[in-house]
Symmetry: C2
Subunit: 244 residues, 2 copies
């Protein structure tokens, strides 16, 4: 059993230490299955801090809907988080597979990079945090069609050394227990710059379909920020209606 300790001398605020400690603690299967967490008073005493500080930490997890407090009973790990798991969510690979189209990777590169301001805000992480960046150039046998650039939230725990050739969301679910449930996305069109033209093998200035996508887990917490650049001549992402 892991020993939980609080460092009163540390520069890290106590409530943040407790928060991390709790995040670790509730990974334990018995808590996942519904066991009551140590009660606030006991936990405070055990850690040598005040109950208020414990609450400050748990408050955050409660807000994130990781924990559920019940007056007179105790605190447990939330069962099935927030949004009804939507009926269908499929990765790009699956969508294409269902259409009978086979994709291949032209380039694939993963690395650990600093998070820029946009990503920091989106993921709500600090300046010091590193994120895994995944760049994938994918297409048909006849040539590349789409360039994906993905950034993953540190919470997921990727190292950048993973095998990214398998379907991404399957891998996240199986290996990292991270379920991609919903996404927010916006679509617009841009012109190909030099880099895009080279990668997608189109002239500079050609139209490119640009899709931003934030993939979230069932609790609505972001796990991936994904930029997709599609050859507009090869790919349409539309709502279509036939005239009656």
């Amino acid at each position: 059993m892991k020993v939980f300790n609080i460092d009163h001398g540390s520069a890290i605020p106590l409530h943040l230490q407790v928060e991390d400690l709790l995040r670790d603690l509730i990974k334990n299967p018995e808590y996942q299955e519904g066991k009551l967490l140590p009660n606030e008073v006991a936990l405070a005493k055990q850690l040598g801090i005040s109950r208020n500080t414990v609450r400050q930490a748990t408050n955050k997890l409660v807000f994130e809907r990781l924990l559920v407090r019940k007056k007179g009973v105790g605190t447990t790990v939330a069962k099935d988080n927030i949004t009804t798991k939507l009926d269908k969510w499929s990765s790009f690979t699956h969508e294409m597979g269902e259409k009978g189209v086979t994709f291949r990777n032209y380039e694939l590169d993963a690395s650990l990079v600093d998070a820029d301001e946009e990503i920091r805000r989106l993921f709500n992480i600090t300046r010091k945090s590193k994120v895994v960046k995944l760049e994938r150039l994918r297409g048909l046998d006849t040539g590349p069609v789409v360039l994906f650039i993905s950034y993953f939230h540190p919470r997921v725990g990727l190292t950048g050394k993973e095998d990214f050739t398998q379907p991404l969301y399957d891998m996240l679910e199986r290996t990292y227990h991270t379920v991609a449930a919903v996404s927010k996305e916006g679509i617009s069109a841009i012109l190909a710059d030099k880099e895009l033209s080279e990668k997608l093998q189109i002239p500079v200035g050609d139209p490119v379909l640009f899709r931003k996508r934030v993939v979230c887990d069932p609790g609505g917490r972001p796990i991936e920020y994904n930029l997709g650049f599609y050859r507009a001549d090869k790919f349409t992402y539309t709502i279509e209606i036939e005239r009656g």
Copy 2:
């Protein structure tokens, strides 16, 4: 100027009273434009409560990203919330308008109903809450194409008496200051039951494209739960790829 008062005798917890008070307060344009809110110590003193209670209230709004606290400076209303407002988000009416297709309403009915369990969980509201339900049957001149059923979060403030013939998200933004920024959606296919077949004017058992959509404001808070039932023979919602 509205007088803010706290009722110590009320059954409603003080921090909730303060929370409501703040929600009202920050609707004031000067705060929307960045003016510092009254500082915590002064506010506590003015309301005759402790600073911690004030913080308990502001904490919630900070969590919701409505407020931003800055150490040594003060607290302000959050400017442009959370997710980078995605580049493009358009309502169904707009999407169709851009394609040069004109839609008409075949049926339109709004009412106040009890929220079922799914909606309560999605909106995080209590059993007692009523929600506005909007049912719209829309289509081309040649016949109905899609049945929309929408539920609106009570926070939006709809009564059910609104003019729903105008574009929905425009109306929400202009009249209710609710910005629909992002949505989460899932798509699946179902078979038409009796009700659907009658409304969409198709045989029972015909395929129907079923779309669940949760529309959220820029802070990620749900404002609408939307079910869309599309005639699959008239409407496709797809990712298409052309063979090279």
